[in-house]
């Protein structure tokens, strides 16, 4: 809903960023040297570097159109799994014995985290944490309440809690384009490296869907909605020209990260139709028209949003779950320990990493609400001080400094407020706002000494 377009300077900066980004590959872990071959249920085979393999879920690095990408296969996708090359002994962690053939019969999934995490979980129930990206209401905007910084800060807390699985519960109506790549990077490059990373979609609209799109394993709540990613600004003005092309290209790359057909996201961004055919073997093929597929998902002249029904029908969603128990079942977790403290009014335990997100949002909200007050007080105090005597100046300088410190504290918590409130890039904020403001206040006091 609130998909705010960037100012032109930001767009060009983002464009440069988007173009400069290669599709990041998962960092090599202990099993990276192994190769594997999967025989899919339609008889085709996939062979490549085995990135990760946990209880039926297999990630293989393959070449697609000359480009390396990591694809995930679930137990239901393939009939046979063969490791072609053993991982180096020193690098192979202790993992529970697994059947290498039909993984649907194998032990239940515990975690798809890499080697380090697998070693941790070898002999215990997997530990999972729910992290909310947005909480609806006034605290849902991507770029203000959903940000890469607190997510990155949460990783050590999750590791300290020995978490194996991270479930991102999405409840956001969208927000700023500038944060999408940062969020995608922290989720794809950092979370996926350490944890089995899952999205649980309640309300993922626009930038929130674009953020979630790098995640391959997606579940919906029954009322879940995902899409409507058209970029706009002002009075419902659409992004156009190069800016639009850059975002379309950015989302093609992010679609590849999540192993999602790029035509899906395109239909969510612009009015491209979308249909799909589901083969007898369950293979889903998407088409950017309304005639080639059996199931019309998006008619011409519309922008696409998934419901839980349509997402499940075309296997974009791996399952529909209202509760944690239902989610665990959909994720094939026979046992799971949800990390955190049960609190009244919350549907899942609150772990330290989630508490950090909640605290971040709370402070941002308070600051956001009071921000105009901070600014008005600062400006008024400075103005009033111009005419006052030394004693008055000293009092007002003190009040002005207090307001300045509140602003600095707000921006330390949430750097993007610099952009939204002052139109200053966060990394330039000290130079462009703090230092000049501090100088003005000091100047007031200097005059007092004279």
């Amino acid at each position: 809903m609130k998909f705010r377009q960037l100012k032109s300077k930001m767009l060009s900066a983002l464009g440069a960023l988007a173009i400069g980004l290669a599709v990041a590959m998962p960092l090599a872990d202990a099993e990276a040297a192994a190769r594997a071959k999967l025989t899919l249920k339609d008889g085709t085979t996939v062979e490549g570097e085995l990135v990760r393999e946990v209880d039926g879920l297999v990630w293989i690095k393959v070449l697609t159109n000359g480009r390396e990408e990591t694809k995930m296969f679930t137990a239901s996708d393939y009939s046979k799994f063969e490791k072609l090359e053993e991982a180096p002994a020193a690098a192979t962690p202790a993992t529970p014995a697994k059947e290498e053939s039909k993984p649907a019969d194998a032990a239940p999934a515990t975690t798809s985290a890499p080697a380090e995490s697998k070693a941790r979980t070898a002999n215990r129930v997997p530990r999972a944490a729910v992290i909310t990206l947005g909480e609806g209401g006034d605290k849902d905007m991507v770029g203000v309440y959903v940000m890469a910084k607190p997510l990155r800060d949460a990783i050590p807390l999750l590791q300290k809690d020995n978490v194996d699985i991270v479930v991102f519960r999405i409840n956001s109506g969208g927000g700023a384009l500038l944060e999408i790549q940062k969020l995608s990077d922290v989720i794809y490059d950092e979370y996926r490296k350490h944890f089995r990373t899952v999205a649980w979609i309640d309300w993922a609209i626009s930038a929130a869907a674009m953020t979630s799109h790098c995640i391959e394993e997606i579940y919906f709540t029954p009322e879940g909605a995902y899409g409507a990613c058209t970029g706009w600004f002002g009075q419902l003005q659409a992004m156009q020209g190069r800016g639009l092309e850059e975002v379309l290209f950015q989302m093609e790359k992010i679609s590849a990260r999540g192993n999602h057909d790029p035509q899906i996201m395109r239909a969510m961004q612009i009015m491209e139709p979308l249909s799909a055919t589901i083969s007898d073997r369950g293979q889903v093929t998407f088409y950017q028209d309304t005639t080639s597929g059996n199931l019309v998902l998006n008619p011409k002249g519309r922008v696409f949003t998934f419901t839980s029904e349509t997402a499940s029908a075309v296997r974009f969603s791996s399952g529909t779950a209202s509760t944690l128990d239902e989610l665990a079942k959909a994720m094939n977790l026979q046992e799971v320990e949800w990390v955190g403290v049960r609190k009244p009014g919350y549907a899942w335990p609150i772990c330290a990493a989630e508490q950090l997100q909640m605290d971040f949002r709370d402070k941002t909200y308070k600051d956001d609400q009071a921000f105009d007050g901070y600014r008005v007080t600062l400006d008024t105090a400075m103005q009033m001080a111009q005419q006052g005597d030394d004693e008055t100046k000293a009092k007002l300088a003190g009040r002005a400094r207090e307001s300045m410190n509140r602003i600095i504290s707000a921006i330390n918590n949430n750097p993007n407020l610099a952009l939204f409130k002052f139109n200053i890039f966060p990394d330039r904020f000290r130079e462009e706002w703090i230092e000049p403001t501090d100088k003005k206040i000091r100047d007031l006091l200097k005059k007092e000494k004279r």
């Binding site: 706009w232 922008v303 949003t305």
Partner: protein
């Protein structure tokens, strides 16, 4: 093929919903054989989002839980606040009250799952559920209607932005709203085509009955046993006035019954209990629901009045500022700050009922504005001298 796929999908999901209902049913029936089911009854009357709001509903549902209700009956009768002369036709307004409904709906879904040790049988009894209120009954597996019931008033999603901005952005706005509305219908076990017909002008929907079940068809009727729900024609003024629109669907008792939304038409509680299979044996809980609801309405109205009065007095106080002695000015500022604090406290306490329209109609600025005013007064006091 497309329709077969959609049908299979819908039936599969409906199957899950029925299975869930079947799982829940034995609990109530088992209870039946031992002790009479305890029935909690609440009425939601008034303006949706103002009188009908999450705080009193949550409190009433907690009362029901604390009183070990086995069955919760919610009667809904929304009334528009504006005068009949100012009101625009029901069918064309209010889709965005969906977002207000979002604050309330989880009380009947997530919070029941979370806070009740045994899920109660939830029944909605509709007299009039228009605008945002139209989304509420669909959280319940069982809906009953009065003979003069109307359910809808969320039409116009495809035209709500008129010609503002670019088409692709308008389509984005429609798409996200429709997906959310459909999501609530899916979660409640109802066909999402119903809400599309209720919301999207000129979406063509008809149905036929197969084995007593409505099969929805996204086209005009083609056989004598198929019935029209909506057409792609404009409604006449006469049809609008009489609530007989065909461009968007407003459910009446008969239509709702025919398409399986309503399980029955009843005009009094005894008949409802009979239809629910509870007439022979049940215990009506003497709940606090009505007192809670009435108390909320009274408090909101009082708060609304006090805020308006406070703002007027504050304006008068500001006008008289600066003409007295230091002591008088200090006293005046202290009084104004107390008034501001009082206004802020009331706005916070009842903020859920005071939406943008209320602020606009009553010319009450947002809380942040009062806070700035308070800061200004503090600064003035800081530099004022005897």
């Amino acid at each position: 093929m497309l329709q077969r796929l959609r049908k299979a999908l819908t039936n599969a999901l409906r199957g899950v919903a029925f299975a869930a209902a079947a799982l829940a049913a034995p609990t109530a029936q088992a209870q039946d054989s031992q002790t009479p089911p305890r029935v909690y009854y609440m009425e939601l009357n008034g303006e949706f989002g103002y009188d009908i709001s999450q705080t009193p509903i949550r409190e009433a549902m907690r009362d029901a839980r604390n009183q070990n209700a086995d069955v919760v009956i919610v009667r809904i009768d929304t009334t528009p606040k504006q005068s009949e002369f100012e009101r625009l036709p029901d069918e064309k307004q209010n889709f965005d009250e969906l977002f207000r409904a979002q604050d309330i709906l989880p009380i009947f879904t997530d919070e029941i799952r979370r806070e009740w040790s045994k899920r109660p049988r939830l029944v909605f009894w509709v007299k009039r559920a228009m605008g945002g209120g139209a989304f509420m009954p669909f959280v319940a597996p069982e809906i009953y209607m009065t003979s003069d019931a109307r359910l809808g008033g969320i039409g116009g999603i495809g035209v709500m932005y008129g010609s503002t901005g670019d088409e692709v952005v308008r389509q984005k706005q429609y798409s996200l709203r429709m997906a959310r509305a459909e999501g609530y219908f899916i979660a409640g076990g109802y066909d999402p085509k119903i809400v599309r017909a209720m919301a999207e002008p000129k979406y063509v929907l008809s149905y036929r009955l197969e084995g007593g079940k409505a099969i929805f068809l996204e086209r005009s009727p083609e056989r004598p046993d198929e019935f029209v729900l909506t057409t792609d024609q404009e409604d006449s003024m006469q049809a609008e006035v009489r609530g007989q629109t065909r461009s968007v669907l407003t459910l009446t008792a008969d239509v709702a019954r025919a398409i399986g939304v309503s399980k029955g038409t009843v005009d009094n509680l005894d008949d409802l209990l009979f239809q629910l299979g509870l007439s022979r044996s049940h215990t009506m809980i003497q709940g606090r629901a009505n007192r809670i609801m009435e108390g909320w309405k009274r408090d909101v109205e009082l708060a609304s009045r006090e805020i308006r009065k406070g703002v007027e007095e504050l304006a008068k106080g500001m006008e008289g500022q600066g003409v007295n002695s230091f002591e008088a000015r200090t006293q005046a500022r202290g009084r104004q700050i107390r008034q501001i604090n009082d206004i802020i406290a009331r706005l916070r306490r009842f903020g859920e009922a005071f939406g943008p329209r209320w602020h606009n109609e009553n010319e009450i600025p947002p809380i942040a504005q009062f806070q700035i005013q308070k800061e200004q007064l503090e600064l003035q006091q800081l530099v004022d001298k005897k």
